[in-house]
Symmetry: C2
Subunit: 344 residues, 2 copies
C-alpha cells in the first residue's frame, strides 16, 4: 500500500510500504477513508534531522474496518470507525480515569512499528478499546467534522475542560491555528461567557468568530497582553487556552490570565523550562493541560457533531489525495492552508 | 515600641521604632500577644544584602485591638484577633473569590511603611476586612494553634485545597518543615486516603505521623522518587504538596506525581524557570498553588481548632520573648528549632 513517511525537515514522501495485517488477537486493520495533517506534524516537518530511513507519520484518521483479531468484539468488517490519536486498551486504571494517553498498553501512531495515519490503511493495536464506531456511511458529508474527533476538536475540548471553562468563565485562546479555533468552539459549547481569540490571520479569526469568539486581538506579545487586559478591566481572563506550544505563547498566556486563574495548554511544548517562578506563584495561577486523551471524549462529543450542533470540520480548508500530502505539508507550513484533509 | 528588623543575611535586630497609631479611618492598632518566625523569613535571613537601613519583618501574629479608625465596625478595643499574613479589604472581587492575596487594597506586613508582625504592636490597614475575632482570652492554651491560622496551617490547607485533596486522594508531601507538617494535617483533615511524607528529620516526621502521615520517606532526590513510586505500585500519588520552594523540591514533586495528577506548591519559589516542558505535558500533570489567601480559610478552620479536633500549634517547639527573636532565627536556620513562637 501507499503511505506517508518523513525523511527530514521539509522532506515528506509517499511510498510503497507493506500492507498491514492483523498480528495480535487484539488488532484490527482499518482502510483509511479520511486522514489529515496536524499542526504538530509541522514540528518535525520544520526540524527533523535528515536520515536515510524515513518514519511513518500521521495520527488522525477514520476508516472502514477490514479485518479484526480473534479477541476483538463489538467491531466487524465494514464498520466505519474513528481512531483517537493515541491507541489504548480502554480497560486500565488510567483509561478508567479518562487518561488514555497514559495507558501502559497504549502508544502513538507511526511509532514502534505501528502504522501512521497518513496512508491507505492502518493496523490498529487494542482495536476494541481504541476505535469508536460511527453511525454514518463513508459518503457522509459529516466525515470532516467526525475526523476532528480523532484529535483537533478533542484537543481543543481537553484544553477547555482542563481549564474549567463553563458558564461565567471568561476565556482567552492563544493561537488561531486549527487547535485554537477548536478551543474557541469547545469553549462556546461549554457555555463560556466571553471568548477572546488572540490571532492575526483574518480568515482564521473570522472562522473563530463563527465558532463563538466574542473578541479578536491581533496584537502579539506585550501589546497583545495589554489589549486583553484592557478588554477585561485590567484583570485578564479566568482561563487561558494556550494552543501554540512556544515559550512566547506560554508567556502571553501567563500575561493575560487573571489572578487565581488557569492556563491550560495543548500546544506541544517547544521548551524545556518555563517561567513558573514567583510571578506565577504570587498570583496563584495554575498551569494545566497536556496531550489530549481524545478517546475519553469521543462518545460525549459525537452527538453534537451527528446532530449538527457543532461543525468542527470547518477547520479544513484544503483537500488532497494521498499523493498530494507532501504539498499539503508545504501549504500548511507556508500558512496557505489552515488544515489539510486527506482522501487516500 | 520594640520591633524586629532585618539588616542583612544573618543580621536580625530588635530596636525601638515609632509606636503605631491609627492613620486611616480603616485602620486598627493591635497589641501583639503572640507572633512567630516563618520558614519564608529564612529566605531573606539567608541571603538579604546588607544595608544601613533595616526592614521590618514578621507576618504572623495575633493580639488585642487597642484602637480602631472611624470606619472600622465589628471590632473594638479589647477584642482578641488573628491577622492573616496579608491584609485585604475583604470586599473586592478578588476577596469575594477567596483570593485575598490579590486584593488591590491589600499588602504584606513589613512592606510599604506597614509594621511587621514581630513587634509589640501593629497598625493594621483595612482592619475590618483583615482581622478575625477569636472567642477566647489572651491566656487561652489554644493561642499557638490559633496563631497558625495566620499563615502556616492555612498555607498547608491552601496547598491541599488547590491540589484537590479529598477522600480517595493519595498525597505526597515534600518537606518536613512546619508548612509540610501543616499540609499533612490539612490533608488528613480533608480525608486523604494515604499521605506519604518526604522528610528526613526524625523528630519532625514523627510529628508528621501524629498529624496523619501514613508513610515516611527519608530518601531525597531520585532515590526518594523511586521510593515513593515503589510505595504506590510504580504510579506515584494523585497529588503532591510541595512545601519547600526550591527547584529540587519541584523536580521531586514532578517525579512522584501520578500521570494526570496535581503538584500544588506553597513553598516560595527560589527559581525563576521550572521544568514544565514536554515531560510534564505528556503526562497531563497540573501545577497549581501559590501564596495562600489565609484570610479566606480562617472562619472555616477556626471551629476545628477551638473544639480541639486539630492541634496545628504543635509545630511550635520553642518560645522566645521579643529580645530572643534574633536567636530564634538562628535556631530555625540551624534546624535546632522547627518553628519559634514569640511572646512579646
Amino acid at each position: 500500500m501507499r503511505a506517508t513517511l518523513i525523511y527530514g525537515a521539509g522532506d515528506i514522501r509517499v511510498e510503497d510500504v507493506p500492507d498491514p495485517r492483523v498480528r495480535e488477537a487484539t488488532d484490527a486493520v482499518v482502510r483509511v477513508v479520511r486522514a489529515c495533517i496536524c499542526g504538530s506534524d509541522l514540528w518535525p516537518y520544520g526540524s527533523r534531522p535528515a536520515t536515510e530511513q524515513g518514519d511513518r507519520i500521521g495520527h488522525e484518521f477514520l476508516g472502514v474496518v477490514e479485518d479484526t483479531g480473534a479477541e476483538v468484539s463489538g467491531l466487524r468488517r465494514g464498520d466505519l470507525v474513528v481512531a483517537p490519536f493515541a491507541y489504548a486498551d480502554n480497560t486500565c486504571a488510567y483509561c478508567a480515569d479518562g487518561l488514555h494517553t497514559s495507558c501502559p498498553n497504549g502508544g502513538y501512531w507511526g511509532q514502534n512499528g505501528v502504522d501512521g495515519g497518513q496512508g491507505e490503511a492502518v493496523r490498529v493495536p487494542w482495536a476494541q478499546g481504541t476505535l469508536v464506531k460511527l453511525p454514518v456511511g463513508e459518503d457522509s458529508p459529516l466525515l470532516p467534522s467526525l475526523l476532528t474527533l480523532s484529535d483537533v476538536f478533542c484537543t481543543g475540548h481537553h484544553c477547555a475542560v482542563k481549564a474549567g471553562v463553563g458558564p461565567r468563565t471568561t476565556v482567552t485562546v492563544v493561537g488561531d491555528g486549527a487547535v485554537g479555533l477548536s478551543a474557541v468552539l469547545a469553549s462556546a459549547r461549554l457555555g463560556a461567557e466571553r471568548i477572546v481569540l488572540m490571532g492575526r490571520h483574518a480568515d482564521r479569526t473570522s472562522l473563530g468568530r463563527d465558532f463563538g469568539a466574542t473578541d479578536v486581538v491581533p496584537e502579539r506579545g506585550e501589546e497583545g497582553v495589554a489589549r486583553v487586559r484592557e478588554l477585561t478591566g485590567g484583570e485578564g481572563t479566568h482561563t487561558v487556552l494556550e494552543c501554540v506550544g512556544t515559550e512566547t505563547a506560554l508567556e502571553t498566556a501567563l500575561g493575560v490570565v487573571r489572578d487565581g486563574g488557569t492556563v491550560s495548554r495543548v500546544g506541544v511544548p517547544q521548551y524545556e523550562e518555563g517561567p513558573v517562578g514567583y510571578g506565577m506563584f504570587s498570583r496563584n495561577v495554575t498551569l494545566t493541560g497536556g496531550v489530549a486523551p481524545a478517546r475519553a471524549y469521543i462518545e460525549e462529543l459525537l452527538p453534537d457533531v451527528l446532530e449538527g450542533r457543532i461543525e468542527p470540520g470547518r477547520v479544513f480548508d484544503r483537500t488532497v489525495g494521498l499523493e498530494g500530502v507532501p504539498d499539503g505539508y508545504r501549504a500548511m507550513a507556508a500558512r496557505e492552508a489552515l488544515k489539510v484533509l486527506v482522501r487516500p
